[in-house]
């Protein structure tokens, strides 16, 4: 993944260097600007077995501030925000590979450095008995839940 570029950022930003668990690195730039997911809308994406994005809906594109062709083919951690500890995703991959649903409160990073909070669900796509990929649906949540998640993630 490419580093984030100052030209794409709106507002004052901080820098963070990610080392993802697949061994790659990326410099991300992030601001304090929050965008709210509109009421009633769902962010949907699909991934292959490695978590590479294979499909996104319009709401995903709008909330991420990327173009569709900048998203397809990238790993889902393109959305990872520095405030999200690895442990928050710790059981995600184990759960979905065991064909269980994973839920969590997630703070995602936008291309413009801003962020948005969602309640996310990830499940395995099972076809003729085999896992062929994963689907994630993210929805708006309450301020109370966001505050709880924020406090919890700071302790991880």
């Amino acid at each position: 993944m490419k580093d984030m570029m100052p030209d794409d950022i709106s507002g004052e930003y901080q820098e963070h260097m990610f080392s993802y668990h697949d061994g790659t690195h990326r410099k991300v730039l992030f601001t304090n600007i929050e965008t709210q997911l509109p009421e009633g809308s769902l962010i949907v994406s699909r991934a292959d077995l490695r978590g590479i994005i294979t499909d996104v809906n319009q709401s995903f594109i709008e909330m991420s501030a990327y173009h569709k062709d900048e998203l397809i083919g990238q790993p889902h951690c393109i959305l990872r925000h520095p405030d999200m500890p690895a442990a928050a995703f710790g059981d995600l991959w184990k759960m979905v590979q065991q064909r269980n649903k994973w839920h969590g409160y997630v703070k995602n990073l936008r291309k413009d450095g801003g962020f948005y909070w969602v309640y996310a669900t990830v499940i395995a796509n099972i076809r003729n008995g085999d896992i062929t990929g994963f689907t994630s649906v993210r929805r708006r949540t309450s301020r109370t839940k966001i505050n709880e998640a924020e406090t919890h993630y700071q302790t991880l």
Partner: protein, 248 residues
Amino acid sequence: MTHNFTVSPDFNPSHISGWYIFNTWLQRAINEEIHLELYNSATEQRKAIADDQVQLIYANPYDATALVRDKGFIPVARADNKTDEAIIAVNHESLILNVEQLTDGTRISSTDDPDVRMMCMIMLEPAGLNKSNTITIQRDAYILIAKDLLKNDADIGFFLEDTYNELSDITKKQLRPIVHSQIHVIHHLLLVGPKLAHKKNDMQSSLLSMVDDPKGAGVLKSLNFERWIVVGQEEAEFMIDLMDTLAE
């Protein structure tokens, strides 16, 4: 041998005759005896399905999930340009302007239509509302939900968007939607069961050509459909996965 056809009981009652007309048309088109059996409630219909009484169904997305995954039904078609979206509405004089203003103890008027309930309960989450801190009044028909709102017997009402739009203008003037879902990929599906699956291709080609045939076009009109489009296995599976992520 006669095959039973049914329609999820969440459709607008004004389309009942349309489904009978469709059934007559379909029997001729695929040369099979098909009997349309409409059930009064989701519970009655589920029982018939469990007893293998149904071979063809126009199913809501929620029921489609169990039919495809557990009963071996396969997708045939869906109505073009129709997605299943839900609306939460209030009395037009209500002080509530958006979901986040709703508080504990909110009175909900709703049918037992499972996908509308599910989508609407999800839309209440940003207000911290759920089954345990709201009061649900269950009704058999969407018109009764409108009545509850008009009489202030409920604070909010859950509607299928299509059905909301078909309420009379006088009724709609006295209501106001506060939120509508924008999911876009959830649909009712026409599904065929294992005993009639050999007719799937015949059915698909007949359904597709309906718009081009004067009689077929009339039938579509009575259902308020623009046209049918074919649904493949993966499209249906994707929708079911999505429903799964939303289910509790």
